[in-house]
């Protein structure tokens, strides 16, 4: 025969799934939340998002090209996802250079030092956010008021998040039901009418994104459902024990980035466990640590820390929680 045939081992066909498709699926799923945040926070949200994505892409490009002298692989879309998620974890009035610094840390330290895509133990966007939170605690916790100053960026009028107001009031000896009157009601919170970081404000929009992710089979339901229900049950027990010092479980799951964390940050493919059982252990851990930080710690909000702490346990979970092997248990007829 004149032409040579291609010889390769089986299988000779593959699914049409790819890393790029998974990444862009995540980006698309964030569209509803992005639209809500533009509506609630206006121009500041747009500026923060654009700067965050651009800096993440640029950081990865520069490191790959000039520091590592390897092929530039930003087209896999992972830097865009990190940039978008980092922005969603920041207040919309954060000075632009802090956003750049956060992106530099997220990609540079959080991802590339470990060897780039697939090798990082911690969620890069959260590494960036926690770095900023620790370095600039004032700017990172002065949140623009919802709907108040949609055309201003840095000089937007600010206030605390519902969780922050509550924690402060409880510390000053006020009863929770009294404080609740000063806060947006549950429906407003569900739709996004509250202070907070870009992406955390609308549970409704995040749930729409979640349904899309499930439909596209990008993630499974286990982690989000178990994170949220663990927080709900734990805070529910505390609330029933003492409703004067503890907020309702519904309040807890609608505030402080529980939805954003459970649906997007905890489910990061690279930094979450491989088996379903492992995912459940990890998710319950995140839920428990979140509530412990919120109720007993000094920060009003604990989702980011809880996820990063549980990220550290993922290799251990993967080592000890194995899938059920075929033929492990033998049934005799």
């Amino acid at each position: 025969m004149s032409k040579l045939l291609i010889v390769s081992p089986s299988p000779h066909i593959s699914s049409d799934q790819s890393v790029n498709k998974l990444m862009f699926g995540v980006v698309i799923s964030l569209a509803p939340a992005f639209i809500v945040t533009l509506y609630v926070f206006g121009i500041g949200a747009l500026i923060t998002t654009v700067i965050s994505i651009a800096s993440c892409i640029l950081t990865e490009m520069i490191i790959q090209k000039y520091l590592l002298n390897t092929e530039v692989k930003i087209r896999d879309g992972s830097a865009i996802v990190t940039g978008l998620l980092l922005a969603f974890n920041l207040p919309s009035n954060l000075p632009w250079w802090m956003v750049v610094l956060g992106a530099l840390f997220a990609i540079g330290i959080g991802k590339m030092t470990y060897g780039g895509l697939g090798n990082n133990p911690f969620n890069p966007a959260l590494v960036g956010r926690v770095f900023l939170l620790i370095s600039f605690p004032v700017q990172m916790t002065s949140w623009p008021l919802p709907m108040a100053s949609r055309l201003q960026y840095l000089d937007a009028s600010t206030g605390a998040t519902p969780l922050g107001i509550l924690k402060e009031a409880v510390k000053n000896g006020q009863a929770v039901p009294d404080v609740m009157n000063q806060l947006p009601d549950h429906m407003q919170m569900f739709l996004g009418q509250m202070g907070g970081s870009l992406g955390e404000v609308s549970a409704a929009a995040l749930i729409v994104g979640f349904i899309w992710l499930l439909y596209k089979r990008i993630i499974t339901w286990h982690i989000p459902v178990f994170v949220v229900s663990t927080i709900f049950i734990f805070t529910g027990i505390l609330w029933m024990a003492n409703p004067l010092t503890n907020a309702t479980p519904l309040f807890h799951i609608l505030t402080g980035g529980v939805m954003l964390g459970a649906i997007y940050m905890a489910t990061d493919l690279v930094t979450s466990p491989m088996t379903k059982t492992g995912m459940i252990i990890y998710a319950v851990g995140i839920g428990l640590i979140t509530v412990i930080i919120r109720v007993y710690g000094s920060y009003p909000e604990g989702v980011s820390f809880a996820i990063l702490i549980m990220n550290a346990f993922v290799p251990l979970i993967n080592k000890y929680i194995k899938p059920k092997r075929f033929g492990e248990e033998v049934k005799h007829g």
Partner: protein
């Protein structure tokens, strides 16, 4: 509710282009090359010499190893030589070359096509005839059937499982055979039940072959103890372990055999060969082969003499399409890519798939993003993402602990991986190395 196995599995597009094509007879070629190794075990020992005249169905090599099978002449004529030929894996192997002359059958073979339902022999005789006919598993594993039927001491067969699943995309040889030779297959099932001394048989057919399910339900209604199961379409349901799990909900233990849980499984093609061997005294000298591909002019199911060069099959479907990139023997999930088309058809050849150039290359490998898809599709409950680096690092102890030897090489992991990682390539390499270590340990 349709039955199926529950751990892992994938749904590749099934592309059964030849699903409703009748079986066409390919005329005996001018010469055949019959390999001496067409079964799992050691090559068969020659019993003919160059220059001998042979008839169709005459023994030309005797399987003497434990997992070997007899080899018979598939054409009549003169033995032109005993020489090496490149097999489908590209290795040079010993083969008997026969130049065809006439159409002379061995005297003992009944060459009529009438359905012979009457069973006149006992179990031991059935077993003996199956061994003499050189029947091996025609699903692709080529495990000698008489060995499978000899239940080890201390174990007991409880039921017979018949594999009519054909879960590989493109292939339809079993489907075509079921539609045309249903009556013969039913007799074959009874022969096997008698040989195994079991009262129950289960036929598993995937739900994409509704006509075959309907036909066999009708045929089975006339017999006691034979049940037809419509199965949900899922790859790799044709895998022995997956099929048994789907039908009788028992799992073959790790490292064990189906008979450990009372089951013995045969492919429908093998069952038909058993019918011919016992009722017609006809050895395994031909089989059904699907020749197909998206650009093939006239894809078809052929009845082919063993030893026919693959090039002759390609000629019969209208020649090799212009932009062919790859030719696969078998299905796209587990088949072997051929280096040339002169390799002969062997007992395990179920199909020839001709792939256009644009679908022949693999995608660029990206880093593992730990999406866990490989793990969730693995029908054996293994962790391909972990086995691949362990194999790369030659960490054989750990590979064995992680059950690498349980892998059935179905390719679901590589198929699914969004990063196009060659998971199965490395797992196969790991199995090869760990297998060697286990064998030396046993010695």
């Amino acid at each position: 509710v349709l039955k199926t196995f529950h751990k892992g599995g994938i749904h590749p597009p099934d592309n059964k282009l030849t699903a409703h094509q009748p079986i066409r007879q390919i005329p005996a070629p001018g010469s055949v090359a019959i390999l001496l190794s067409q079964h799992m075990g050691a090559p068969a020992k020659l019993v003919v010499d160059k220059g001998d005249e042979v008839r169709i169905g005459q023994l030309i090599a005797r399987g003497e190893g434990f997992l070997s099978g007899n080899i018979h002449a598939s054409v009549s004529g003169k033995v032109a030589g005993i020489d090496e030929v490149q097999d489908v894996s590209g290795y040079k192997r010993q083969a008997v070359f026969i130049d065809t002359a006439g159409d002379e059958w061995d005297n003992t073979v009944k060459i009529n096509n009438t359905l012979d339902k009457e069973i006149r022999v006992d179990g031991a005789e059935i077993l003996k005839r199956i061994a003499e006919a050189g029947i091996v598993g025609l699903g692709g594993a080529t495990f000698p059937s008489h060995v499978k039927l000899s239940v080890p001491r201390g174990k007991k067969a409880e039921c017979l499982i018949i594999n009519g699943v054909e879960c590989e995309p493109y292939l339809t040889c079993d489907h075509a055979l079921m539609l045309e030779k249903g009556g013969e297959i039913m007799v074959g099932i009874q022969l096997l039940m008698k040989a195994l001394n079991v009262g129950k048989a289960h036929i598993g057919i995937e739900n994409n072959k509704e006509d075959a399910i309907k036909l066999f339900r009708h045929l089975a209604s006339a017999y006691d103890g034979i049940t037809v199961h419509a199965l949900k379409v899922k790859y790799p349901q044709g895998g022995e372990k997956q099929l048994i799990k789907a039908i009788i909900d028992r799992e073959v233990p790790s490292g064990g055999l189906p008979v450990d849980i009372g089951a013995v499984a045969f492919n429908v093609g093998t069952v038909f060969a058993v019918y011919e061997a016992v009722q017609k005294n006809k050895p395994l000298i031909e089989r059904i082969v699907t020749v197909t591909g998206n650009n093939v002019k006239q894809p078809a199911n052929f009845r082919v003499r063993i030893g026919t060069p693959i090039s002759a099959l390609i000629e019969a479907v209208g020649g090799l399409p212009e932009n062919t990139g790859k030719i696969i023997m078998g299905g796209p999930m587990m088949g072997k890519a051929l280096a040339n088309t002169e390799a002969p058809v062997v007992k395990g050849t179920s199909g020839i798939l001709i792939v256009p150039e644009e679908d022949s290359s693999r995608s660029i490998v990206q880093p593992c993003i730990r999406c866990a898809r490989c793990l969730s599709v693995c029908p054996m409950g293994l962790e391909p993402y972990l086995l691949m680096p362990l194999s790369k690092q030659n960490n054989f102890d750990r590979l064995e602990i992680e059950h690498v030897m349980d892998c059935i090489e179905c390719g679901s992991c590589s198929y699914t991986c969004p990063a196009s990682r060659p998971l199965l390539d490395f797992i196969k390499l790991g199995k090869l190395n760990v297998g060697k270590i286990i064998r030396t340990r046993k010695k």
